[in-house]
């Protein structure tokens, strides 16, 4: 993964742009698909697949009617920079130099920390709007984040111990050679903890109060509009897909091709959807307390498990 | 028991001294009236002086003054110890001084407090 010369870097950027495009499109499509599934469950018809694309295009060409100050406009920029950057540090397709992105810049640790970047920027932008609802949403979202971060961190530590590396590429490499080598099989405890954290991370019911789709129209983005909203929607698709890719890489053996990637990520996504449809919503403090109990316990067990069983 | 039977004279003085000291202490501790406390002190002081004198006694000795009765050559065998006598002289004077100051305190306390009861003098504590 040695990149040399300006040309090398330029082609790297080009490759990454392609990845970006694919992943974003995939994210948007999947979003629409999920909407349709939920609609079916609830007995509605649902949106057409093109709807997200139309939404974004429409928003981009709308004129801005209000002004909240510089930070307000920078918020979505931070947000999408977070999404793009996160994707940039994740190798998407295993064994394919073209889609390994910029994963040589940093390891899993970098990805996890950089995921905060977008959230922080988003929070700042929404805060600048001056609307208390957005601040409340952020407060809740950040709180929930700290909570699911615990089982997630434990699970990550567990697999880092297991594979003795922080490099995502190497983690994927270690899972090659059949499903029996996937983390979900070899270290199911950690996967369980991580998937519980994943529920919180995706912001679906029962952990969707910070978005509060009913009370606070769509949570933090509530104040955004036009191109800003467009950026946000783009990011929602992109970032969501990126997280799925990350989980796939860490726990489900990664992907050697786009098709495998799409199937795997979709299935992972479905976990959140199914649970979300089946469960009522937690209040935010209940949600936080939940993460501190069972998922954390499982996370702790995962480390014990990996120390006792796998590395002995 | 031997000592009790023979009962040397100085032991009697010594014990009397001790009894006086105890009496004096008892007075200082139990009597609430300042003047009585001062009397207690005097008793104690006197007791100590008696103890001191008795300590200096040498069996069969006489006053340490060299004169015809006590020739210089035999003086060392005949006289009592002069040192406690000298000390007691000093101690008496000191006791006197303390008593005088105590009495003047009592006088002043009576003027300021209109009482001579020691348990009324508890303005400062803790």
């Amino acid at each position: 993964m040695i990149v040399e010369g300006l040309g090398g870097w330029l082609s790297k950027v080009g490759n990454f742009s392609l990845t970006l495009l694919i992943v974003t499109t995939y994210g948007l499509l999947m979003g629409a698909f999920i909407e349709r599934i939920i609609a079916k469950v609830q007995g509605r018809i649902g949106i057409p697949y093109r709807q997200p694309f139309i939404n974004i295009l429409k928003n981009f060409f709308k004129r801005t009617a209000i002004s909240h100050g510089v930070m307000f406009y920078l918020g979505p920029v931070f947000r999408i920079a977070g999404g793009i950057g996160t994707l940039a540090f994740v190798p998407v397709i295993y064994g394919d130099e073209m889609f390994s992105n910029f994963s040589m810049a940093g390891d899993l640790f970098l990805v996890i920390y950089f995921m905060f970047f977008g959230q922080l920027g988003m929070a700042l932008g929404a805060g600048e709007s001056g609307h208390p609802y957005s601040a409340i949403g952020i407060a809740r979202g950040l709180s929930q984040m700290t909570a699911y971060e615990i089982p997630f961190a434990l699970a990550v530590i567990s697999i880092v111990i297991q594979y003795d590396t922080l490099s995502i590429t190497q983690i994927v490499a270690a899972q090659q050679g059949g499903w029996q080598n996937w983390t979900v099989v070899t270290n199911w405890v950690a996967t369980l903890a991580a998937m519980l954290a994943f529920l919180g991370m995706m912001g679906y019911s029962p952990f969707d109060i910070f978005l509060a789709p009913q009370e606070i129209p769509i949570g933090p983005p509530t104040e955004f509009h036009s191109a800003y909203l467009g950026l946000m929607q783009l990011n929602r698709a992109l970032f969501g897909a990126t997280k799925l890719v990350l989980f796939m890489n860490l726990f489900f053996g990664g992907a050697t091709g786009w098709v495998e990637l799409m199937i795997k990520t979709f299935l992972i996504y479905m976990v959140a959807i199914v649970i979300g449809v089946a469960f009522p919503r937690f209040r935010v403090d209940q949600g936080i307390r939940f993460f501190f109990k069972i998922p954390t316990l499982i996370g702790i067990m995962s480390i014990i498990y990996v120390q006792m069983v796998l590395t002995s | 028991m031997n000592t009790l039977i023979n009962f040397p004279i100085s032991l009697i003085v010594l014990c009397s001294g001790f009894i006086l000291i105890l009496l004096g202490l008892w007075g200082m501790l139990t009597q609430r009236h300042l003047i009585r406390i001062i009397i207690g002190f005097s008793l104690m002081d006197t007791g100590i002086h008696m103890v001191m004198v008795s300590i200096g006694y040498v069996t069969g000795g006489t006053a340490p003054i060299i004169n015809n009765a006590v020739p210089m050559s035999e003086a060392t065998n005949l006289v009592v110890d002069p040192v406690p006598s000298a000390l007691v002289l000093t101690a008496i004077v000191i006791g006197l001084g303390v008593t005088a100051v105590m009495l003047s305190f009592a006088v002043r306390i009576y003027k300021t407090h209109k009482t001579l009861m020691i348990d009324k003098l508890t303005e400062s504590k803790w």
Binding site: - | T3, I65, T76, D81, P82, L96, V101, V107
Partner: protein, 241 residues
């Protein structure tokens, strides 16, 4: 209870006490060497004035400061002091007492007082020869004062005289002590005056001199203390607050 325990302790002392049958090392030295070194027949005096002269100086100081202390505590306000600050004569009866003593008492006092004082002087002057000494003599002089105050309650004693006497006698004592350093072996060494003839009045070096100072000082100081208490109580009667 505590006193009971104290009693046990004292009993312990008494039970273990055995009377001395010989002199202590110190006493032995004093009795043996005292008459020659100091020239005083009364060994106690030799010990008091010379061997333990520093004690005695301290003792005088104690008396001096307790007199001063009593004076300080029982002082009166300035105005009163000035009123009482009158006569120079040592003893004087106030003329217009409304409760004067009887004639017999007055006469007896005038007769006895000089004798008492004279006896006191005798005692301290012969301190090195016979039982007695400065303190004893001083006490006798003070008892004279006591007698005077009891017999003639309204009589005045001059503060100034007392002050001068006690200051000068005390100072002289110190000077004598210093002379001991300069002219003899050390501070309070009484041998800078020749020992004289053993057994005489003027013998034993400076002891008679020292004892005279002590006697005067003790006498006047005790008198001053007595006088203070008297003034205080009479003041009390005059002016019950």
């Amino acid at each position: 209870m505590m006193l009971g325990l104290m009693a046990i302790i004292f009993f312990n002392l008494a039970a273990n006490y055995t009377e001395n049958t010989s002199l202590s090392k110190l006493a032995h030295y004093y009795v043996e060497k005292g008459p020659q070194e100091i020239g005083a027949a009364n060994i106690v005096t030799a010990v008091v004035v010379t061997y333990r002269g520093l004690d005695t100086l301290g003792e005088v100081t104690v008396l001096f400061i307790s007199a001063a202390g009593v004076g300080l505590l029982l002082r009166r306000k300035k105005a009163e002091q000035n009123n009482n600050h009158k006569k120079i004569n040592s003893v004087k009866e106030t003329a217009n007492t409304h409760k004067s003593s009887s004639e017999i008492v007055e006469t007896a006092t005038e007769l006895l007082l000089p004798m008492i004082i004279l006896f006191g002087v005798y005692v301290f002057l012969n301190g090195h020869l016979s039982p007695g000494g400065g303190f004893q003599g001083g006490a006798i002089i003070a008892s004279g004062t006591m007698f005077l105050l009891l017999a003639l309650p309204k009589s005045h004693i001059s503060r100034l005289l007392i002050a001068i006497t006690e200051s000068l006698s005390g100072f002289s004592y110190v000077v004598v002590g210093v002379l001991g350093v300069v002219m003899a072996g050390g501070f309070l060494d009484n041998r800078f005056i020749s020992s004289g003839t053993y057994g005489n009045l003027f013998s034993a070096g400076a002891i008679p001199l020292i004892y005279s100072f002590i006697g005067l000082k003790v006498g006047f100081e005790l008198s001053a203390v007595l006088d203070r208490f008297r003034k205080e109580t009479s003041n009390e009667e005059d002016d019950p607050v």
